[in-house]
């Protein structure tokens, strides 16, 4: 309810106050319900994983690939303990709601996943460090792709062409690296490839005001078609042009020597380090700098930006092209940072998953990184468990994060609000 009256008599304020009390009661009710869900999760862990593990069986987690660092846990007792802690938290929450519910929720999800791992890999050993490394490797292109989406959409241009830009960049980067023999040239050409397609997207959707979904779809098909054609025509005839190789991993001195963490975080290739830098940097710039304020104003209310002398078209062009560069990084990572060559349709939908990460991350690069890590974790967990073999079909694990995204987009558990002018072409005057 809008409060328009400039100076209300005191007794008129009655109605909104009632509303607030009602809201608080509803909030309390919701908090208690969350408590009950936690209790349920805890009991389920005790039941399924605790009593599902045979007594006396142990689980071993390897924490290093280079040394024998590992921990061994008694499966049943560990799962029972984790379940009990979650039940306890749930009881507390349902009686007197805890502050910072989100943090506890994340903590409980992590504990639940850990319990699941203990149970699923009981009586054998499991490479924790391997799984987390692969999580990071899988998350990097998703996070960079999501960064591309954030840059475009914060300026008001919907970009579903991340997939196409990534694929185009993967091809060009790989081709340039193989042709010149320099991975660095491949790196630059990959970024440029994403930016070139983005320039096309900006032209269609900003200057020609084509529906941005259509423009994005066209670019996706164009990228798929042209790369497949060129791969078939050139790369199959001259296989040498498809031997780009990969960037070597660079171990950062000191940090890289930290056991467990060092192996996961500080022994990676240039793409991962670029992502480490870009994601927080762009977040900072978007929300704290003049550039970011202008980009966001153009994505929220372009007319307001226009009337204070900000060039809406130019701002959108630049943002979309920068976004294309980020998509180029994401794409060339696949060829130059991971596989070492180009394969047809090698993005395999990662551009769209990046889009989901952008939404789940609420159009914030760091949020998108969190979402990308979640998706990456689910993927690598799935592939590890597919090898070990568990009673649960591993495909279900792969589905889980997207179900979370779906719920999120539908408005449960928080509001995902796109920029107000997202997808709306701007007409001057």
């Amino acid at each position: 309810m809008t409060n328009i009256g400039a100076n209300l008599p005191a007794d008129e304020i009655q109605a909104p106050a009632d509303g607030e009390i009602a809201l608080e009661a509803e909030e309390l009710h919701k908090a208690k319900r969350v408590g009950w869900i936690w209790i349920f999760v805890g009991v389920a862990i005790v039941w399924l994983f605790g009593f599902g593990s045979e007594a006396g069986v142990e689980t071993t987690f390897n924490l290093s690939l280079e040394s024998d660092l590992s921990i061994t846990l008694p499966s049943r007792i560990s799962c029972l303990a984790i379940g009990a802690i979650i039940v306890l938290l749930g009881i507390v929450q349902s009686i007197r709601p805890l502050p910072k519910r989100t943090i506890f929720t994340v903590l409980i999800v992590l504990m639940a996943v850990f319990a699941f791992l203990i149970w699923a890999t009981r009586d054998s050993s499991f490479s924790m460090v391997g799984m987390l490394q692969s999580t990071l490797i899988r998350a990097t292109p998703l996070a960079l792709g999501a960064l591309a989406g954030v840059l475009c959409e914060r300026s008001g241009v919907v970009n579903i062409a991340i997939e196409g830009m990534m694929l185009f960049a993967a091809f060009l980067g790989s081709f340039a690296a193989a042709a010149t023999g320099s991975l660095w040239i491949g790196f630059v050409v990959g970024v440029a490839g994403g930016a070139i397609l983005a320039y096309g997207h900006a032209g269609l959707s900003v200057t020609y005001k084509v529906d941005q979904i259509i423009s994005g779809t066209v670019i996706n098909f164009f990228a798929l078609g042209i790369t497949s054609y060129l791969a078939a025509q050139i790369l199959t005839k001259y296989p040498d042009l498809n031997r780009a190789g990969t960037f070597a991993r660079i171990k950062i001195p000191v940090l890289g020597d930290i056991p467990f963490i060092g192996e996961i975080l500080f022994d990676n290739n240039i793409y991962v380090y670029t992502a480490y830098f870009l994601l927080p940097f762009v977040t900072f710039m978007l929300f704290k700098s003049r550039w970011g304020l202008r980009v966001r104003s153009v994505g929220e209310l372009p007319k307001a930006a226009d009337t204070v002398g900000i060039n809406v078209y130019r701002t959108r062009y630049i943002s979309v092209i920068l976004g294309g560069g980020a998509a180029g990084l994401a794409g060339s990572f696949l060829s130059l940072g991971s596989v070492g060559s180009f394969q047809q349709n090698m993005t395999a939908g990662r551009g769209f998953i990046a889009l989901a990460a952008m939404i789940l991350g609420r159009w914030n690069p760091m949020g998108a990184l969190g979402a990308a890590l979640l998706f990456g974790f689910a993927e690598s967990l799935q592939s590890k468990l597919a090898i070990i073999g568990t009673p649960i079909p591993s495909e279900f694990l792969l589905m889980a994060p997207y179900i979370v995204t779906l719920f999120f987009v539908a408005g449960f558990g928080g509001r995902a609000r796109p920029p107000a002018a997202d997808g709306v072409p701007y007409e001057q005057g």
Binding site: M1, T2, N3, I4, G5, A6, N7, L8, P9, E12, A15, G19, M285, K288, S289, R290, W291, L293, R294, R296, S297, E300, L301, K303, A304, A305, D306, T307, V308, G309, I310, A420, G429
Partner: protein, 527 residues
């Protein structure tokens, strides 16, 4: 700052928006630019503000000819615009909005210096008595405060000439009085001010000079001392006008619409209408007045089946229509002139003929089985276009290309084809010229006299005064008062719109002293 426009002409394809317009104002002066919707006021100001470039003529600032290519150029020259639809980003803070385009930054990365902005905003707030919290999110601000921020935004850019585009359209009478005071203070501190409006009372109160535009041309220059509201109104429309609706005494019959304990949620799930109780009798017009956004829209949508009721019931002639769909309501003789004619009243890309049968296309005589009967639709359309004087090139013209007044006539024609038992009209004459207003008001009264219950929702006081048999004033989802007969006065409605309660005895003392000739509509209503 001295601002002068000389011989400004601006053409758009097929129309001359401004023709040879001359204006001049000095610092410390308030110039009111008066005219009906579509008279060319906004176009003229957009030329001065650099959004448009005039085809002919020149703009002089302090006797120097200037040429503005963008609003940025105008801003640098000291011209600030307070737009009718506020140009503030809802999810930004006041400080972020004010500094946008004019940011104070530090370091090579251009990091925003919010402390600096806050300090400047607080200084300006103090200087011009425009209090606002720099760290508040704009979307949380009431409209009056939002407008204050918008004015500050112009001052933040060191504007010496402020253009205010219909600044009072969304304000309560109290907020309007406050704004008038602010405008006076700004003028006294040496700013020149151009005030665009079509409300005569404001012009008389605050302007130093008045320029009246009609069809893009200046048709009168005067000062409040030399004219009256009626004189201004005649200048605006170009002939002697009668702002009065020829309306015989109401002869109310049995209750037709009964609303009991009705609560409705808005789009954000906040309670917009709160346990409302009222009835309208056959042959009676109830006008719901109030500042926009106090639940009127939701009330109308609930009655017309476009929004579910949270609690309560709605009965039409004894039948429960609480959860009836718009189509069911139509078959029960409900006529509806929706608030947003482009979104809810018409399908803009459809022809006039198709829009005239939007609710009857699938019934005889406009359909034969599953097919439409085009000749029948066309002859029906031709008939209505003639009867209702819709100015359209042909019945095949897209409804979206008609002027606002003619679009509204199409809707009115469609809804009035069949006699209604209940007519709901939301802002029926918003943005229309006087001729169309008179015509539509006449049809509404005729509908009442043929026995319909009529619910009018309007934020235009003149319209409420002209049409209503009873006036209900809506404030924060409830009726803050229902007035009847002699109780219906501007002052009382104004107080109720601001959420005050009024005793019936005090109106003679608090009534704004206005000579009777200046208030023709209130006058006419009394007879």
């Amino acid at each position: 700052m001295k601002v002068e426009l000389r011989g400004i002409t601006k053409r758009f394809p097929g129309v001359i928006a401004n023709e040879d317009v001359n204006l001049s104002l000095n610092s410390g002066e308030v110039l009111a630019l008066l005219g009906e919707n579509g008279a060319g006021k906004s176009t003229l100001m957009n030329c001065l503000y650099g959004l448009y470039r005039p085809d002919e003529g020149e703009i002089l600032i302090n006797d120097q000819v200037v040429d503005f290519e963008t609003p940025g150029d105008a801003m640098v020259a000291g011209i600030g615009m307070v737009h009718q639809h506020f140009m503030l980003v809802p999810v930004f803070t006041v400080a972020e909005n004010l500094m946008l385009g004019n940011e104070s930054v530090s370091g090579p990365l251009g990091v925003l210096n919010l402390d600096d902005a806050r300090k400047r905003i607080n200084d300006l707030s103090d200087k011009y008595n425009l209090p606002v919290d720099p760290d508040a999110l704009v979307r949380d601000l009431p409209v009056g405060v939002e407008q204050r921020a918008e004015i500050l935004k112009a001052l933040y850019r060191d504007a010496d000439c402020l253009i205010l585009d219909e600044p009072t359209a969304v304000l309560t009478p109290d907020e309007i009085a406050e704004l008038e005071k602010v405008i006076r203070e700004l003028a006294d501190s040496g700013k020149s001010i151009i005030f665009i409006t079509h409300k005569l009372g404001e012009v008389m109160r605050i302007a130093d000079q008045i320029v009246v535009l009609r069809h893009g041309k200046v048709v009168g220059r005067t000062t409040p001392e030399d004219t009256t509201e009626l004189g201004l109104a005649s200048m605006m429309v170009g002939r002697d006008i009668q702002l009065v609706v020829d309306k015989p005494e109401a002869e109310p019959g049995a209750p037709m619409l009964e609303v009991r304990d009705l609560s409705v949620l808005d789009d954000r799930d906040a309670v917009a209408v709160e346990s409302l109780d009222f009835e309208i009798r056959a042959g009676e017009i109830l006008a719901v007045a109030g500042v926009q956004g106090n639940g009127q829209t939701e009330l109308v949508e609930a009655i017309t089946g476009m929004r579910p009721a949270l609690t309560g019931s709605i009965h039409l002639d004894g039948e429960d229509i609480t959860s009836a769909t718009p189509r069911e309501l139509w078959t029960r003789d409900l006529g509806h002139i929706p608030e947003d004619r482009q979104a809810d009243g018409l399908v803009e890309p459809f022809s006039v003929a198709d829009n005239l049968v939007l609710n009857t296309y699938n019934w005889k005589p406009f359909a034969k089985g599953i097919l439409r009967d085009s000749p029948e639709v066309r002859s029906h359309a031709n008939q209505l276009v003639e009867d209702f004087d819709v100015r359209t090139a042909s019945i095949d013209t897209h409804a979206g290309t008609l002027s606002g007044g003619n679009q509204q006539k199409v809707i009115v024609a469609r809804e009035f084809t069949h006699s209604s038992r209940l007519l709901v009209a939301a802002q029926p004459t918003r943005g229309l010229d006087v001729g169309s207003i008179q015509y539509i008001h006449g049809r509404i009264v005729a509908e009442r006299d043929s026995g319909a219950a009529v619910l009018i929702v309007s934020s235009e006081l003149d319209e409420v005064l002209a049409l209503a048999d009873r006036v209900a004033v809506m404030y924060e989802g409830r009726f803050s008062g229902v007035l009847e007969g002699d109780e219906i006065t501007r002052t009382r409605i104004g107080l109720l719109m601001a959420g005050r309660t009024v005793d019936s005895g005090d109106s003679s003392e608090t009534d704004t002293p206005e000579p009777p000739t200046q208030d023709p509509s209130a006058d006419g209503n009394a007879r």
